[in-house]
């Protein structure tokens, strides 16, 4: 497999969210706005790339029986780093993402790539796989966050789009349900249909 294919599969053909349905909890939980989705995506990408890198380096040293716990420890170490760095430098985003930062540990996407890819492939391939998968995840979260933000608050990345009518006090009348919990499920459901359609046309 060429490295380009290795990279691009994570974005299109094996997109973690839209095709493989991995890492759904943060996908639904944090995407009430595009910027939250992007932040979560990038945090996960960092953990994914670093854990892929370390796992592919130490793969021959780890006995087969304890490999899953070892992978979890490696992942948890990087998650703790992300947690501390975000808390120090971008506390506002850290507050918004809240519980979902420590929960990157149990994101099945990260452990899944360690087990299915990094433990079998070379260091370079593993890094490229991590970057591609992470980017695909980030793009999916940003799209979902963007859709929900546009429909639910009439803004994108915080910029007002002035696309909804306003009430007497000047507040836009939006489809508020999309920034709430039910909107996450519904928006993702229809996005998956759309992506499936596009994928089928290209295949």
């Amino acid at each position: 497999m060429s490295q380009w294919k290795n990279f691009s599969k994570g974005i299109f053909k094996e997109n973690a969210v839209f095709v493989l349905f991995l890492g759904l909890c943060p996908t639904l939980g944090v995407t009430s706005s595009a910027i939250n989705g992007l932040g979560m995506g990038l945090a996960t990408t960092f953990v994914l790339v670093m854990s892929n890198l370390v796992v592919s380096i130490v793969k021959s040293q780890i006995p087969d029986k304890v490999r899953i716990p070892s992978f979890i420890v490696i992942i948890a170490s990087f998650v703790t780093m992300v947690e501390l760095v975000m808390q120090a430098y971008i506390p506002a985003l850290f507050e918004q993402l809240g519980l979902f930062i420590p929960l990157i540990v149990v994101n099945c996407l990260v452990l899944g790539r360690s087990e299915a890819f990094a433990s079998k492939n070379s260091v370079l391939s593993s890094i490229i796989d991590g970057v591609g998968m992470g980017l695909g995840f980030s793009i999916a979260l940003t799209i979902l966050g963007g859709v929900r933000e546009i429909l639910g608050s009439g803004t994108i990345f915080g910029f007002n789009l002035h696309m909804f009518p306003v009430d007497e006090e000047g507040n836009p009348i939006t489809m508020i349900v999309f920034v709430l919990a039910p909107g996450a499920f519904i928006a993702l459901g229809y996005l998956i249909v759309l992506i499936n359609k596009i994928n089928k046309k290209n295949a």
Binding site: F21, L22, L24, C25, P26, L28, G29, I68, P69, I72, V73, A76, S77, V79, T80, E83, L84, L99, P102, L103, V105, V106, N107, C108, L111, V177, L180, A181, P182, G183, A184, F185, I186, L188, G189, Y190, I192, V193, N196, K197
Partner: protein, 190 residues
Amino acid sequence: MDYIIIIISAIFVNNILLAQFLGVCPFIGVSSKVETSIGMAGAVTFVMVIATIVTYLLQKYVLEAFGITFMQTITFILVIASLVQLVEIILKKVSPALYQALGIFLPLITTNCAVLGVAILAVQKDYNLIGSVVFAISNAIGFGLALVIFAGLREHMDMVNIPKGMKGVPIAFVVAGLLALAFMGFTGLV
């Protein structure tokens, strides 16, 4: 009185699945039959309650006592992972019948974010030990309730005519959204 508020809030108002999005993977992946989802709910309840008790004690007497709370994530996930293994081994010896019923779901629970999520939330909300246990049990009930209702809905969905592109996961998400909408009716109860 406080405990009643915790219970109602965790089961209905802030339902762990439909309002907080924890444990969505088994929700979408496992729950296509009522029977299997009851098994899953049982296994999650079991592990969630034990994990919350153990992590609570660890947090209070080890992490906070030594001032190393930044190790929380690593400690908790290791505790949960080994706990799942332990529960599996003990169940196999002590109650083969229960092991038969829950067995296949146990390994899946390590990566169920609801367990780790509840353990961390109980610490964040600063409950005492009994409060944490009540919190864990009611969250587990909330999880089971949503899982079983959803499985029932999906069993019915197999029999109706759904547009081709919507079949399978997409329609499951839309139905989950409607279910979440229904649960939003409980807002303001507490």
